[in-house]
Symmetry: C2
């Protein structure tokens, strides 16, 4: 998401928070995900942000209305933009959604897609091993290929023509996923769709920065900055500097 937003909005400052002391959220209960997400939101609001993107699919799926409630700035999740894209591109009205256990359990993508077109069949599949595989850096390993084959088989059987990559980590596996699903299945990158939405909202509300000056990126993590840098650099393909640990 960081990459997508900074590419599309190169003139905006970014304050990024990674809750590395309490991830992964995908296996937690809704109650705990909401609690953690509210704490993260409070911290970012205290930094004087003008717009908040909940870049984690699990947090978006489970806690977005709770985070938006009573807050004056725009708070965007990744579900709605991804769902909209999926509903728009599917031709046979069969959409697959892959994500964490909590994202699938919430049925957020399904509800959102059905809000647009209730005739679309939505087939969900949790893929718990994808995040650890990406974090291990095994993005083009045979182990990852076999794991993906196993998870994606039910979606192939359903003959979906559109697949939502419903977790921050999954776009890093798009080559493997695409190889298994075939060229005819459109892969929706929720992060990319959300970055477009951020741009639209900033421009619509006249909040976009028009000054041409050096951008400022600030990274906060709640634990283990070293590991965050190692994994983060793999995501971004560039050096990560100035990561600060905050202690709650």
């Amino acid at each position: 998401m960081f990459k997508e937003v900074t590419t599309l909005l190169p003139q905006e400052d970014i304050i990024y928070l990674g809750d590395t002391a309490r991830i992964p959220y995908g296996t937690r209960s809704a109650q705990t995900i909401i609690k953690y997400s509210m704490k993260n939101t409070k911290f970012l609001l205290s930094r004087g942000i003008k717009l908040l993107v909940v870049a984690c699919n699990t947090s978006s799926a489970v806690s977005l209305p709770h985070l938006q409630h009573g807050n004056a700035i725009p708070i965007l999740g990744v579900i709605e933009p991804g769902a909209r894209k999926a509903a728009q591109v599917t031709k046979n009205k069969k959409v697959g959604v892959i994500g964490t256990e909590a994202t699938l359990r919430s049925r957020a993508y399904e509800d959102s897609i059905h809000g647009i077109d209730h005739q679309i069949k939505v087939v969900g599949q949790p893929c718990p091993l994808f995040v650890p595989l990406v974090e291990e850096g095994w993005v083009d390993d045979q182990v990852t290929y076999l794991t993906a084959q196993s998870y994606l088989y039910p979606l192939q059987e359903e003959k979906i023509d559109t697949l939502v990559l419903g977790c921050t980590h999954y776009p890093l596996l798009k080559d493997v996923i695409s190889e298994i699903m075939g060229d005819r299945v459109y892969l929706v990158n929720s992060a990319m769709e959300t970055a477009e939405e951020v741009k639209k909202v900033l421009e619509g509300k006249d909040l976009a920065n028009k000054e041409a000056r050096e951008r400022l990126y600030t990274f906060y993590v709640t634990d283990n900055a070293d590991r965050f840098i190692k994994v983060g650099e793999r995501f971004l393909g560039t050096e990560l500097r100035g990561v600060r640990e905050i202690n709650w």
Copy 2:
């Protein structure tokens, strides 16, 4: 660990705490692991326990002295018993240790083994995918076999004759690990060794329960009891009842 302790000490009540709101510990910093472990310890001490086993290898490796400090009851970790067994069984003085990133980084097994015999060569290998594979239930899957082959290859190259399964989840993979390492490599189950140690300490301090009565097992988790029950029943091979969620 629960299984090993209840098998060896069937007359003892057990109070179990699973910190399911904040696991996995294996990728966290030492500072955070200590903080979480102290909170867990405080909770269990408040239940009036007579002995505490830190059943998590990561927590034992990183935080045990901090937990023991100033506490009157015996607090046992899993590292020392596992290390002792490894030092005792190795013939060629080459011991492998597999565990989480944090356990390996702490060098706790290495230090403990060298405290017994400094001539033993200790070769460590973190295996971050083993926990999610076990939690997914893929204990005899080809994916798990290939993953184990990749992780264990450096240990085979070192010609170790003893391998410490240094994480709660790894004994569930012992068939796969044994198939790869071969019959001549002795697999040390730290949980089993620790249960023996618990028995010894309870008897040595005259703390063992001698009454023949129905045992009481109480399970607390900090989040998502449903998932804990699902995964826990796979570990124990028996039904898990009366799991209570506590909200910190």
